[in-house]
């Protein structure tokens, strides 16, 4: 075995891998929107007073946090069509991107729900009571008083969750979607693996850079948003 590693060629692969960036972004953005909506739904059920929705929300979060994303992807992409076939639904025509978006939305929604619950509970109870006392209805109080404060508290965790979701998009290659990671694999197999280490390092650098940018955005957003606001916690 000889050393074929050529560090100088790493930057050259970056533009090539980056050609798949729109695919990753598409997966990330759609999954993010769905996971936020799902997370909000789960949170609403979890903090409500009714017993059954509460139990289902708790079970859903525990389930999603216990299953590896890769296994969830295999379960849904390979398993679900088989199960659907039994009841007569044909899922073979559904695109791989749809499957990957579904899986990432599900797994991320549990984290989003946890984040929303924690931020909601962090807002002082007196805020809600004060809103009621000036005659606001429950929804108005939530929209105008609770939500803006909870959002400020949630920003750092939201940033973290987005970064985690972004990193998880790299699993799309597991079912053959050509995202950043899929592209990297395609490039390395085109050369029969001769440049695989360089390509993966290049891909790693892309992810790293993107995460640094995301982290920076999250910090800036937090700074701008919480500027001039009193801390919402008691």
């Amino acid at each position: 075995m000889e050393n074929t590693f050529k560090p100088a060629t790493i930057p050259g692969y970056i533009p090539n891998v980056l050609r798949a960036f729109p695919v990753t972004m598409e997966i990330l953005l759609i999954s993010l929107l769905i996971s936020l909506a799902l997370g909000a739904l789960v949170t609403a059920a979890g903090i409500g007073k009714r017993k059954w929705p509460k139990a289902i929300a708790g079970g859903y979060i525990a389930f999603m946090r216990g299953i590896p994303t890769l296994v969830l992807i295999f379960l849904i992409y390979l398993g679900l069509p088989q199960l659907a076939q039994v009841v007569g639904i044909d899922l073979t025509g559904v695109s791989k991107t749809v499957f990957i978006v579904a899986c990432l939305s599900l797994s991320s929604s549990a984290n989003m729900a946890e984040m929303m619950r924690a931020s909601y509970l962090a807002v002082d109870k007196g805020q809600k009571e004060a809103a009621y006392s000036v005659g606001m209805k429950e929804f108005t109080a939530f929209r105008r008083i609770i939500f803006p404060q909870a959002f400020g508290i949630a920003i750092p965790a939201l940033g973290n969750n987005i970064i985690m979701l972004f990193k998880d998009t790299s699993l799309a290659f597991a079912i053959g979607v050509i995202d950043l990671m899929g592209k990297a694999r395609a490039i390395s197999s085109a050369s029969y693996g001769a440049n695989r280490l360089e390509v993966y390092i290049a891909t790693g650098i892309i992810f790293w850079a993107a995460c640094i940018i995301l982290e920076y955005c999250s910090k800036i957003t937090e700074k701008i948003y919480t500027k001039g606001r009193k801390k919402a916690t008691s």
Binding site: M1, N3, F5, A62, F63, R65, G66, I67, P68, T69, L70, V71, L72, F74, L75, L78, G79, L80, Q82, L83, I163, K167, D168, S170, L171, F173, M181, A184, R196, L197, Y200, I201, T203, G204, F207, W208, A209, A210, C211, I212
Partner: protein, 234 residues
């Protein structure tokens, strides 16, 4: 549902559970020790090492696990081989089992995440505790071992539990570097007759069971260590 397959495959998948747990435990033990060192280095601002650690942590947090595994899997043999040559022996790279590369990648990842946890836990312990330990004549090491670490650990345990469950889930990715842990075994068994749904439902249940037990164990640890928390924060 092919019940014959389930009965045949379940024991075989269960046999892979110790491999998953072994990988997780070794990676966590090595990673957390390194993480604690990084936390101490960054807390005391050791020149050079501290800056290096900051870049390392940022890199590890920004790059997805799959890519880290691939980089470790392809880069370490080259490093090992050239190191062997430099000291005059030829190391047989193919004799190194892939689990070694997986464990190294997972351990480094754990080191990065746990260092952040230890850092915040250490800084949450009141400065006065250290001073008090000095005032009764303890040395720095004694103060750290007997006073600071127990309190910091009590604070770190819930978060450590979180990243440990994440680690167990992360080992499923070792499948891609050829480690036959739970996910890879299930995949292998499902392939011949396309028993995906059965195989992945079993896999899911096994991971859920492991996560459940781990969460319980960490909850117990948390309760046990609660006595150290009383004076922990100012």
């Amino acid at each position: 549902m092919d019940f014959k397959f389930i009965i045949e495959a379940l024991p075989k998948i269960m046999l892979a559970v110790p491999i998953t747990l072994f990988m997780s435990l070794v990676s966590a033990a090595a990673g957390w020790l390194l993480g604690l060192s990084i936390a101490l280095i960054r807390k005391h601002r050791v020149p050079v090492l501290s800056q290096f650690s900051a870049v390392f942590v940022s890199f590890m947090r920004g790059v997805p696990m799959v890519i880290l595994l691939y980089i470790s899997y392809y880069a370490l043999p080259i490093l090992l081989y050239s190191y062997g040559l430099s000291i005059g022996i030829t190391i047989d790279i193919n004799a190194v089992p892939p689990i070694v590369y997986a464990i190294i990648a997972l351990a480094l990842d754990q080191a990065a995440y746990s260092s952040e946890i230890f850092r915040s836990a250490l800084s949450a312990v009141d400065e006065g505790q250290m001073e008090a330990a000095f005032s009764v004549g303890m040395t720095r090491t004694q103060a750290l071992m007997r006073i600071i670490f127990p309190q910091a650990l009590a604070m770190a345990i819930p978060n450590l539990g979180g990243i440990f469950v994440g680690l167990v889930k992360g080992t499923s990715l070792a499948y891609y570097v050829g480690v036959y842990e739970i996910t890879a075994t299930a995949n292998l068994l499902a392939m011949p007759a396309l028993n995906f749904i059965e195989a992945y439902i079993m896999t899911t249940l096994i991971y859920e069971a492991i996560s459940f037990v781990l969460n319980k164990l960490f909850r117990i640890c948390e309760d046990r260590l609660k006595k150290f928390r009383a004076g922990a924060s100012a």
